[in-house]
Assembly symmetry: C2
Homo-oligomer: 334 residues x 2
């Protein structure tokens, strides 16, 4: 539990209100299980496939909640967001539902499927060069010119509260099965999902540990939580897990997570890809590498033995065909 | 409704009992929806992803029900089944749960993933040459030699009743959403799924039409239902939809379906493959071509306009990587 609640910007009640706000447009994603996964991991594993959420990732939850918080009078100026693709689609879809114009600043090396799908949802896409241009400056300039609202992917309480609705659903679904999980695993970039789910879950399961799961080289949460302050990654790109590559933990999310029951694990890019292949072959689910990091943590036994019963969020499924082909060419997990 | 119920071998009560028998080992698969699919199809579509069933297809339902009907004293001699792969896995998994030995006669050109997964479930696999050998004779010889029970993929009332449990779940799930579907679409080979689901669904929704969905060249149900008697396909193979290629409708299933509210549609192999790609890209579900035939029927508008609200069973997801790559190389559905 947090020692200094006054520093927090997101409450359980905020998540409850977000859930009411995003219905019925957001889907209640199911809770799945697999006896093969249980056998391999030696645990009881519950999967929350946010891949099946509208737009193919959990990001629609936060975006649709956040955009409804924009005052009516400011909506006609539209929204601007920076994203490699999942937040992009979430914002684009939410804007479409609310009759707003969305402009998304995306890196030109974002997965093709994410760029195409964002455009298909009606958004204007502005591409930039990761090495040469500052995406935040591009976004700020667009907002200034148009009077549009900037929608940050995680440094925003409305976004975090929206992502937390996945945690509320998990509590309801696991209670219905009579299960109290020892841990909930989230793929972690800026931490919007992890921090929102932590608040959503702790209200139902006070002793459940939130486990941040990151790819090697992007273990900023693992190191920041160990150190007690936010530290940065050395790299900005170069991992196949594009969905979870952020320079540092978000301030809001880190503040939420640092005093809670949290653990951190790290997997390699190859382990994430082999988890993608496992999801395809065994679970029949399309999961992108960044969305399979938490699954990889279970498959490659990164958890302490006492975590017998765990819930894993499969956070996104927007993967290009060539990445899936590469994943399927790797040695299968026994 | 059937005019001559006395000829039927499967009752609604049989399906209710099957459902009790297969719990808790069989999964209750979720009911999913997609606003993109609704928009493309111009209908309200509900998806029943049996891809998420244990072993990756609905076949586990029938197999696990059927094997429990084998008297205790006959179980030690094991079971024998012929299958291109989904029934194989269903039987193998069910046998494993009951401590029985399963031997599966599979064509040597079955998808590699299906052969591997059947072996991984502990079954003995006997491969045969479709052009040179008679699989039924091989199976009969094995049964005679070992005293094993032959488990036919659809010419068996215990199998049909088990498959019907998918229909019971759909009724419960659609009622919870306040929906009465105009039609339920099933991928159809021998007809075990279609006939079981027809009985399971009609008890809840008396006016709902069961639509058999077949690949071109294997439209034996469409032609048999039109003619009022079972007719055969000209070919035995040569479609990518391996899961639904049978020489004729099953006798039990055809008798069940012929007097009911049934319609029939046919799609091309390419349409099935493009539906596989749509499921991957848009639904984030791994579906095999034979399991995507009913989805293709919706995507390519094979239904009368008055079927506004339809349920589609995605019957299996055991697809090889090269087939998925081929599907993803085709032009996407707008």
């Amino acid at each position: 539990m947090a020692d200094n609640k006054e520093q927090e910007h997101v409450s359980y009640q905020d998540i409850v209100e977000a859930e009411q706000r995003i219905r019925p447009e957001a889907r209640v994603t199911p809770l799945l299980c697999s006896e093969v996964l249980d056998r391999i991991s030696g645990r009881r594993v519950f999967l929350k496939p946010e891949t099946l959420q509208r737009t193919g990732s959990f990001k629609f939850r936060g975006a649709y909640n956040r955009l409804q918080l924009i005052p009516e009078g400011e909506r006609s100026a539209g929204v601007v967001a920076c994203s490699s693709g999942n937040h992009a689609q979430g914002v684009a879809a939410a804007a479409g539902l609310l009759g707003m114009q969305a402009t998304i600043v995306m890196p030109q090396d974002a997965p093709a499927t994410k760029i195409e799908r964002t455009k298909a949802l009606g958004a204007e896409v502005v591409l930039y060069d990761r090495d040469q241009q500052d995406r935040d400056q591009i976004a700020k300039d667009l907002c200034a010119k148009r009077g549009a609202t900037l929608v940050h992917p995680y440094e925003d309480t409305g976004i975090v509260a929206g992502q937390g609705t996945a945690g509320l659903e998990m509590v309801t679904q696991m209670r219905a099965q009579g299960v109290v999980p020892d841990a909930v695993l989230c793929c972690t970039g800026g931490g919007g999902l992890s921090s929102g789910v932590a608040i959503g879950v702790e209200h139902g399961f006070a002793n459940t540990v939130l486990v941040t799961c990151e790819p090697e080289g992007f273990d900023d949460y693992a190191r920041s939580l160990a150190k007690g302050e936010r530290v940065a990654n050395k790299r900005f790109g170069g991992s196949v897990c594009d969905a979870v590559l952020t320079p540092t933990p978000g301030k809001i999310s880190f503040d939420i997570l640092k005093d809670r029951r949290v653990a951190s694990v790290v997997v390699s890019d190859e382990e994430a890809l082999r988890a993608v292949a496992f999801a395809f072959t065994e679970l029949k689910l399309v999961v992108e590498p960044g969305g399979a990091v938490a699954l990889a943590a279970v498959l490659f036994d990164r958890l302490p033995a006492e975590m017998r019963s765990v819930a894993v969020v499969l956070s996104g499924g927007n993967v290009d065909a060539d990445v899936m082909a590469k994943a399927l060419s790797l040695p299968p997990i026994a």
